[in-house]
């Protein structure tokens, strides 16, 4: 019989070791899956493409950073709410609305040159994301409606709204009725920071924001507040607790950051608004936040790790014709293992030899 004995103090060693254990278990599971599904391809070469090539290849590595930026920003925002037990699960919706808002500003000033345009677009995207998340905040505060369900329902609404916009007001007038916007002009595109790649300034901003969040949580009163609300035992999740400010601020912050990430995607690698704007980043960022144990600096690393699996997954799709959905399986599996391994922090696992 295996028994769990609560530790008096959380194990410091396990806080560091359990993520590594989770990673190892995921890699082993991936290996087993590959051995089963690959017939005539060498497992080692698929493994190499999936996990190593994105770090060494001069084209793939900057792509990894491009993908990490939105994950990092959204993950940061979510981690703040998650600390306080506010579950904004619909960051994908706020991301889409932010992308539409930022993109619409850029398209409104089409062919207008000016250094002010990008900050204006960024501002629009943040406000868009915030407003969208504030619906959930309002309903939770005023009517105690669960924010998980509201933010999620609004995600489906946002994706439909994007589609309506692209067939209506934002459609490229010279685009042969394709549901796509014009391609943004240069003033509406994020500056590239690595010549010859798609890596844009958003990555640097994401790093800066992580540092700001780290200091914020450490020094600011609000950081203190969310920490305490989160660690205090909460009764029914659906009934919700009454600290309205925490609910409002954490939803506004996570919504605004998700909106900003949408703008980064639209004005960065996409360069226009298309139905392909939602990239599942809003959902994957949930994994990013958990893998980092909701710590801002940890999020920098976990977003890079998840971005690695994205880029690697796309690469094995191109090279070996394996479906890229395999990435999602690994990400889900990683989160499962990670959550499971966390038990080692709070509990000692003891083999009970006496029969009972």
């Amino acid at each position: 019989m295996i028994k769990l004995i609560p530790r008096v103090e959380n194990s410091k060693a396990m806080i560091l070791l359990s993520p590594l254990l989770a990673l190892t278990l995921t890699a082993v599971s991936a290996l087993i899956i590959f051995i089963f599904i690959l017939d005539d391809i060498k497992v080692s070469s698929v493994f190499f493409t999936l996990f190593v090539l994105p770090l060494t290849d001069s084209y793939l590595f900057p792509e990894l950073l491009v993908k990490a930026a939105p994950l990092m920003i959204i993950g940061l925002g979510l981690s703040i709410g998650f600390r306080a037990g506010i579950w904004n699960i619909g960051a994908e919706g706020q991301y889409v609305i932010g992308g539409i808002a930022g993109g619409a500003v850029g398209l409104y000033f089409y062919n207008v040159e000016g250094f002010w345009l990008l900050p204006l677009m960024a501002l629009a995207s943040i406000i868009g994301g915030m407003l969208y998340a504030s619906i959930a905040a309002f309903l939770r505060i005023r009517y105690q409606v669960n924010e998980i369900l509201v933010t999620l329902m609004l995600t489906y609404v946002a994706v439909l709204f994007l589609s309506a916009m692209l067939q209506g007001p934002l459609r490229n007038p010279a685009g042969f009725n394709f549901p796509e916007s014009r391609i943004f002009h240069d003033s509406a595109m994020l500056p590239i920071i690595w010549e010859g790649t798609r890596l844009h300034i958003g990555f640097i901003l994401a790093i800066i924001l992580s540092l700001v969040a780290w200091f914020g949580i450490k020094k600011h009163m609000f950081g203190m507040q969310i920490k305490i609300t989160g660690s205090a035992p909460r009764a029914a999740k659906f009934a919700g607790f009454n600290d309205n400010k925490t609910v409002l601020y954490s939803l506004l912050i996570s919504g605004g950051l998700a909106g900003l990430a949408g703008f980064f995607e639209a004005s960065g690698p996409a360069g226009q608004l298309t139905p392909g704007l939602p990239q599942f980043y809003g959902f994957t960022a949930i994994i990013v936040a958990f893998l980092a144990r909701l710590h801002p600096i940890g999020i920098v690393f976990s977003s890079l790790l998840i971005a690695l699996s994205y880029v690697g997954g796309e690469e094995v799709q191109i090279e070996y014709n394996l479906p890229s959905s395999i990435t999602q399986i690994f990400q889900g599996m990683l989160l499962f293992y990670f959550l499971a391994c966390d038990i080692l922090i709070k509990y000692k696992v003891v083999l009970n030899k006496t029969k009972d």
Partner: protein
């Protein structure tokens, strides 16, 4: 309104609401035991795929339904194991289950996106089904629609008329007290989660075996989440699930008919209706309850249980 339109609308509503009834009644039992499983969407999509695959290869609707049921159960066992034995956070684990289920089914179903199957047909009882209006509305629905209603009744019966149901509810309300008087909290919750998985799998299978004869990786389209909303709407009372599902089904059918009637609103705005309606019914429920606390909420919902003795 002419008679055949009326009948087709009612039948449309039963078809649109049945997957929600399955998924929601399963989740209701899970939540009554004090566990919040946010993986409904993931379990549904796995059920939809397995039902489709088995129907495609064997042509046997019985096997297809069984496969969906077992598939939903199998994937829910991951959640059950993690939350009950490894004491993981239920919100995070449920989300992981949804993401994992979506990925897994997209991966495993990639060879089936071009295929079609034979749908499960509505039953036809000689004589009874031929009675005007009542015949088509009561005696010739899809067999799975009847099954969904039976399941709602069975869950109600289990919760309120059996000893085990009483124990399950007491575990959901106070797991420490239930444990103290000798009930096996983990076993009850594990079983409840498996039942929830089976029902979600069935709900998913209804989409691919009754609604449309194809498989698509996004075919659940948020129905698992709507089912979670229905459980709240129903105040954790079994029969109210039917009411909520009919409301939702009605809106879905209304939206489809509006698109058919060439009303001058983009299809996208009409498609938003079911999602917006879910939010609205949740808000209206809170307005109706005013500031009264909902006494049917399981007190231990989402809380981790670990016995020290």
């Amino acid at each position: 309104m002419n008679e055949s339109l009326f009948i087709s609308i009612i039948i449309g509503i039963t078809i649109a609401s049945t997957p929600l009834i399955f998924a929601a009644i399963g989740e209701l039992l899970v939540e009554r035991s004090g566990v919040l499983n946010l993986g409904v969407e993931g379990m549904m999509i796995v059920g939809a795929l397995l039902g489709f695959i088995v129907q495609f290869h064997t042509g046997s609707p019985y096997l297809a339904v069984l496969a969906a049921l077992l598939g939903g159960m199998a994937i829910s066992s991951i959640f059950a194991f993690l939350t009950q034995f490894l004491l993981t956070n239920q919100v995070a684990t449920g989300l992981a289950l949804t993401l994992f289920g979506l990925g897994l089914s997209a991966f495993a179903g990639r060879g089936y996106t071009e295929e079609t199957i034979v749908l499960i047909k509505a039953i036809h009882i000689p004589f009874l089904s031929d009675i005007p209006v009542i015949g088509p509305l009561i005696f010739s629905l899809n067999p799975l629609v009847y099954l969904a209603l039976v399941m709602v009744y069975l869950v109600w019966w289990f919760l309120y008329k059996t000893k085990q149901g009483l124990i399950l509810r007491s575990i959901g309300d106070n797991h420490d007290a239930a444990h103290a008087i000798g009930h096996n909290v983990v076993r009850y919750r594990f079983m409840a989660i498996l039942f929830g998985g089976a029902m979600a799998g069935l709900g998913g299978a209804f989409l691919s075996l009754v609604q449309v004869p194809i498989w698509g990786e996004d075919m659940t389209a948020g129905r698992g989440w709507i089912a979670l909303g229905l459980v709240v709407f129903a105040s954790w009372l079994p029969f109210r699930i039917i009411l909520g599902a009919i409301l939702f089904g009605g809106i879905t059918v209304l939206q489809l008919h509006a698109q058919g009637f060439d009303i001058r609103i983009s299809a996208q705005y009409l498609s938003m209706l079911p999602y917006l309606a879910t939010i609205i019914i949740l808000v209206s429920l809170r307005i109706r309850l005013k500031n009264k606390t909902n006494r049917t909420v399981p007190n231990c919902l989402g809380r981790i249980f670990h016995s020290t003795s």
